[in-house]
Symmetry: C2
Subunit: 258 residues, 2 copies
Amino acid sequence: MTTIENISDSAPEKMLRILDCFTLQGGQLSVGDISKLTGIPRSTAHRWVGILRDTGLLDQDNSRDVYRLGLRLIHLGNNALWSMDISREARHVLEALSRSAGARSHLCVFDGNQMIFVTRTIGGRAGRFNSTTVMESSPCYCTSVGKAVLAYQPQETVERIISQGLHPYTPHTITDPDRLREELALTRKRGYSINNGEMEMHERCIGAPVRNAAGRVIAGLSLTDKTRKMTDDKIPGFAQTVIKHADLLSVQLGYRHS
Amino acid sequence: MTTIENISDSAPEKMLRILDCFTLQGGQLSVGDISKLTGIPRSTAHRWVGILRDTGLLDQDNSRDVYRLGLRLIHLGNNALWSMDISREARHVLEALSRSAGARSHLCVFDGNQMIFVTRTIGGRAGRFNSTTVMESSPCYCTSVGKAVLAYQPQETVERIISQGLHPYTPHTITDPDRLREELALTRKRGYSINNGEMEMHERCIGAPVRNAAGRVIAGLSLTDKTRKMTDDKIPGFAQTVIKHADLLSVQLGYRHS
DNA sequence: ACAGTTGTCTCATTTTTTGGGACGAGTTTT
DNA sequence: AAAACTCGTCCCAAAAAATGAGACAACTGT
């Protein structure tokens, strides 16, 4: 009927459409901004923003009529990471990988846009809070963990990442969309990814995908070392080690078959 | 009308009621579990869970009929932290504080339940992804940052934290609700909090509240050192330094007046 | 084999959302 | 300084979505 799509969103979809505005546009938005960005009429947007403020999903600068993402989102995000078995299982696998290969290892979860570094250190006593969760994000197109994950995502996800821009960190960063697509195809073919100083000069990483119980690739496990230490001839051997540990982690997350 | 409260939630409220089940109960829940925990009828819960799965707020283990918090929440939480000016402003203030006091400093955001450690390291070039966000959570009843924030939260928040249990980390951890209430009153009175080896033995911290543009205390800034170095006679001086920097940060966040 | 539980689907009823329009307070333009 | 404009806020009848009891099948464990 209307000029553009007339899809009637469910409430959560519409809610996320509003919250995503902040993600894209960053920082702070007014009711008017939200109305424009989402196409939601002013009066409706106004009511929504009020509800989202009351529920803690948005925070309001009282001085101006401006809103930001709320603290409750941080809480939920933190809990989502917590409730993932990945945090629980990760440590031992990371230690085993580092020990057997003699290099640093990373585990990162793909959140739909970036790679989020996950690790957990268990303290002395048992208990919910006796641990710490660490989150650190980095781009997915120029890290080994990112490329390992991206290789197994639907095409539309890859295209979205590309459309957001491939900013160069080093001269080795892949900035050409086609080269990235080739790289992902190669990664899919051999089962592991290589990062050749694309984010940090003189650092080479090998990454492999980690699957959850649903069979989806949700994370990447990697091995990192100086380029001069991780020579070409060693890569195949290291790759098998990384894949082995990534598969082990997948199984611990509930993934079956292979 | 009904026996219990007949409050009709808005859609986001109900959604959060479902998501919060996972926070409280942890791990994974089935449709039936959610129905029981929230009081929402099975068929309604079923539809909701389906929507939340489709929007990425929940993840489904395909093997069993079990759900977990979704990756999208991690994404949103990460973005919420990003969009906070606090990440941008924090670094300089932290460095200044550490330098002027000669001890380690922390900045933690209160997410409603825990204290989330926030820091950011800016790399060489400008750009969105050229930084890293680190999140690490710790309890708020036994850290200086936590007590500094909790002292300025509504009573119901304090009581909720207490009702969740005050687990001892060290012999010095405050586990008596009344002692915690007194401690918070004292903190409010003098304007800064002290953590006396309550989470880590032989570590002493001084914390002060940080306010956002809305005037709400949303974070805590702290100075940490070994107990033997942070002696009683030095505390008042250090406290003023911490408060000064916390206030500076508050102003940078848009807080006015004092 | 059986009783109980659980996931899933349908549909008439109820409830909420919706958004055009109105009003007032600021802000910019003329 | 007045006019034109923008923006936040509120109201209400029309429209759309959520609701939840019930039915059915699949599964569980005794």
